[in-house]
């Protein structure tokens, strides 16, 4: 039976670096059940004992308001189901930022658990001219204090030594407490006694929890207790609060005053600071990186680099994965007899695996970039620079990176929203991110523009009409996203404006280990969690397109093939005729499949958009991913499924395709525009929807996203078609 120790501390104090250094490779990363808060555990070998280490999310206070903070409080108080109770704490404290860090330590002392302080970043403190009397600090806090430098792995042996009694549960609990006014303490005791006398609570309330219930009005602790004891406790609580106040002061302010007063006294005894605050290295870097002109230019360059990497650098690897999987599928299909099994393996399983793996290069690259930007401290600067722009539609600067990433692909974009603290801001960003024009829309645009938009110069010959159309459909998403976010923030996610109060951490060189681990775990989670569902959706759509397999069609085409073999002597011509027949047969099957029937059935819905049933069918088939529409159109028009956006023959076929009357073209300019507008605004991407489900924890958010985007897409396409037809663009 080994002890469970928690590593706690403020954000940006090098907690993860220390955790990695202590546990090495023996780590488990996942999420806490039901929330996307990272759960990291590992084992640490100590002198003669091992202990389980939990790396809790960084937090500034035990007054919980965000999901991260709630997890920290729950785990520390032993109230999170499925988590072991904590035997001791390792508090990581930033020596160069002692004052605010000790504020948190003063709260940790009230947990009444054995505690060791790891005084990190001693090198930076020394560079800033801070002299810390470690022995005096240890005496003042009543706990062991070990100076370390987690980045350079200095002092870790001493820390392990100090942790050994923790692991053996032999370290006494410090008796040091931050002094609070007498009135507050007696009111607190009365509140705790009152709560503990109520059997409905079914547990003893920890003094620290009682403290939070009292001080944090409408806070997490209060809500949880009131849920159990009922709202009729509210007047009593108000009375306890009134008794705790000194001269009517606010309790939160009273807490801060007491704690910072206590911290100041410790600082005065244990720390010698230079008279004049020397300009830190970070401050000098910030003079450039957040400069009005240079800062903005550098920011745009960095973002361009991030965007370029996920947009173009990932492309060759994605193509490689794509062709690798098709080649593998081809090789396997040669082994299998033609029929349902072959189709399931090639068009179902391999296509399904491919549609998951194809996202990996983008996800790995983006999570690497985000990990680097976060670890070096630039992320906070990016939010600082962009905040004003985003505050116009009710969001904050933290939404910038997710939005930008979504231009490459909404999935890494949605994953990137994890850095947004406020839930309402985060959900709004997740819901509008799929509106950004991702790379999967490009094939749809390219084939339709290539086939239907006349190549002529406009605006005095400066730009081509084709380029202009591409720009227009690309911008459409952003233009719609702004009012959408604005509306969401005023309806579904209405509420108090979340504070934008961020620490600007000191710059530091990112640690390769921390960055790589983060990217690795994020990518693995995507493949495992989202991957299975994306795979399932692909198989379902495959089945819809495959069944029922009519024997009548098979017989007709067998006869036709026999006829070709009989009548065409020349080998090459025979081969070409047979290939054409095979494509025609595939088309016939698809048209008579369940999917084709659904397409016919819902055609009336899409008729006002100028679409015939074939476009409707291809649109439904492209539910797993937008780009599938190109291949499906290829099959529907008897071209075979291996058509892509560069295919001239598909372009010509689309131009020549006629409706059943044999005269009206299936697609003209208004129809092409209406398809593009539809695909610009719709959420035909099961991978995105599955990712939204995973990140929000509920199905209603992906359903809402799909619903509102499809509505917008339909209305947009409807207006486009009707308007351009009225203009006479339909010819």
């Amino acid at each position: 039976m080994s002890a469970t120790l928690a590593v706690v501390g403020n954000p940006n104090v090098g907690k993860t670096a220390l955790f990695n250094a202590l546990t090495g490779l023996s780590q488990n990363t996942g999420n806490y059940a039901g929330v996307t808060v990272e759960r990291k555990t590992g084992r640490v070998a100590l002198d003669g004992a091992t202990a389980e280490l939990i790396d809790l999310p960084g937090t500034y206070s035990l007054a919980a308001s965000s999901p991260d903070e709630m997890i920290v409080v729950d785990v520390l108080l032993g109230q999170r189901a499925g988590e072991k109770s904590i035997d001791g704490l390792v508090a990581v404290v930033d020596a160069s930022n002692l004052e605010r860090n000790l504020y948190f330590v003063s709260q940790l002392l009230e947990l009444e658990k054995p505690l060791v302080v790891a005084l990190n970043m001693m090198d930076i403190a020394a560079r800033r001219g801070l002299k810390i009397d470690v022995a005096a600090l240890s005496e003042k806090l009543g706990v062991p204090v070990v100076p370390i430098c987690a980045h350079r792995r200095i002092g870790l042996d001493k820390l392990r030594e100090a942790m050994t009694p923790l692991a053996q549960v032999a370290l006494p609990v410090s008796g040091v407490r931050c002094p609070f006014p007498e009135a507050q303490l007696s009111a607190l005791q009365a509140l705790a006694a009152d709560l503990n006398s109520r059997p409905v609570l079914r547990r003893t309330i920890h003094p620290l929890e009682a403290f939070r219930v009292m001080v944090d009005e409408n806070g997490y602790a209060e809500q949880r207790v009131l849920r159990k004891v009922g709202p009729e406790f509210r007047p009593a609580l108000t009375e306890y609060r009134r008794r705790a106040q000194v001269n009517g002061a606010n309790l939160a302010a009273q807490e801060a005053r007491a704690r910072y007063g206590w911290v100041r006294e410790i600082m005065d005894t244990c720390v010698t600071r230079p008279k004049v605050r020397p300009k830190s290295r970070s401050e000098r870097i910030d003079n450039i990186l957040t400069h009005r002109v240079f800062g903005t230019v550098i920011f745009l360059t960095v973002m361009l680099l991030v965007f370029q990497s996920i947009y173009s650098w990932a492309a060759p690897v994605m193509d490689l994965i794509d062709s690798g999987i098709s080649a593998l599928g081809g090789a396997v299909s040669a082994w299998l007899p033609p029929g349902v099994l072959q189709s399931l393996v090639v068009d179902g399983i391999f296509a399904g695996v491919g549609s998951v793996l194809v996202f990996l290069p983008q996800i790995i690259l983006l999570s690497l970039f985000i990990a680097i930007l976060e670890d070096c401290g630039y992320m906070a600067r990016a939010a600082f620079l962009m905040d004003k722009l985003f505050s116009w539609c009710g969001l904050s600067g933290q939404s910038f990176i997710p939005m930008l990433s979504s231009f490459a692909c909404a999935i890494p974009g949605i994953l990137a929203t994890r850095t947004i603290k406020d839930r309402r801001d985060r959900f709004t960003t997740i819901l509008v991110a799929p509106l950004m024009s991702c790379s999967a829309r490009l094939p749809v645009y390219l084939i339709l523009i290539g086939a239907f938009i006349p190549s002529q110069r406009v605006l005095g010959g400066l730009v081509g009409l084709e380029g202009l159309t591409l720009l227009a459909v690309y911008s459409l998403g952003v233009l719609v996203a702004i009012p959408t976010a604005w509306t969401l923030k005023r309806t579904l996610f209405r509420g108090v404006k979340p504070p934008f109060i961020l620490e600007m951490p000191s710059y530091k060189v990112p640690l390769a280990g921390v960055v790589l681990k983060k990217a690795f775990f994020e990518s693995r989670e995507f493949v495992v969690r989202a991957g299975t569902l994306i795979f399932a959706v692909t198989i379902i759509v495959w089945a819809l397109a495959y069944f029922p397999r009519s024997t009548a069609i098979a017989e007709t085409y067998a006869a036709k093939r026999a006829q070709v073999v009989r009548n065409t002597a020349e080998a090459q011509a025979q081969e070409a005729a047979l290939a054409a027949l095979a494509d025609e047969e595939e088309g016939e099957y698809l048209r008579s499949s369940l999917l084709g029937k659904i397409g016919h059935f819902i055609e009336p819905v899409f008729r006002p958009l100028g679409w015939d049933w074939r476009i409707a069918t291809a649109t439904i088939a492209s539910f797993p991913a937008r780009e599938i529409i190109v291949a499906t159109l290829g099959t529907l028009f008897n071209m075979g499924a291996d058509e892509d956006e560069h295919s001239d023959s598909l372009r010509t076929t689309l131009q020549l395709a006629r409706r059943e009357d044999g005269v009206t073209p299936v697609i003209n300019i208004p129809v092409a525009l209406s398809i593009m507008v539809f695909f610009a605004l719709c959420c035909q991407c099961s991978a995105t929807l599955v990712t939204i489900r995973r990140e929000t924890g509920q199905w209603r958010w992906p359903l809402l996203t799909f619903g509102y985007m499809t509505t917008l897409a339909y209305l947009g396409a409807l207006c486009t078609y009707q308007f351009t037809t009225a203009l006479g663009w339909g010819g």
Binding site: Y60, S61, A63, S65, S96, N97, L98, E99, R100, Y103, D216, E217, N250, A252, A253, E255, A256, R257, Y260, R264, R277, S282, E283, D286, T290, H291, R292, V293, G295, T296, A380, A383, F384, L385, D387, K388, L389, S391, V496, P498, P499, F500, I501, L502, E503, M504
Partner: protein, 75 residues
């Protein structure tokens, strides 16, 4: 002389004397050390004029002007 934090210019210094009102924002400011008696210095404003960056209790903090308007300063 009393003013609010958002009214300070770049490089101005002052001491926090009070937080106006109480709520989510004030709670967060208090945790981050913006409480009475804390010395603050305005380091810079973002290129679009908002938010601002300050030095407080030995570290750097960014906040919006609307939030800084809740912080009373004894300059």
């Amino acid at each position: 002389m009393t003013c609010t934090l958002d009214q300070l210019k770049r490089h101005d210094r002052g001491v926090v004397s009070n937080l106006r009102g109480i709520g989510n924002i004030q709670q967060r400011l208090l945790e981050m050390g913006v409480s009475d008696g804390a010395e603050v210095e305005v380091l810079r404003f973002a290129p679009l004029g908002d938010p601002m960056e300050i030095a407080v209790r030995g570290f750097h903090l960014t906040l919006r002007k609307s939030e800084a308007a809740l912080v009373e300063i004894e300059a």
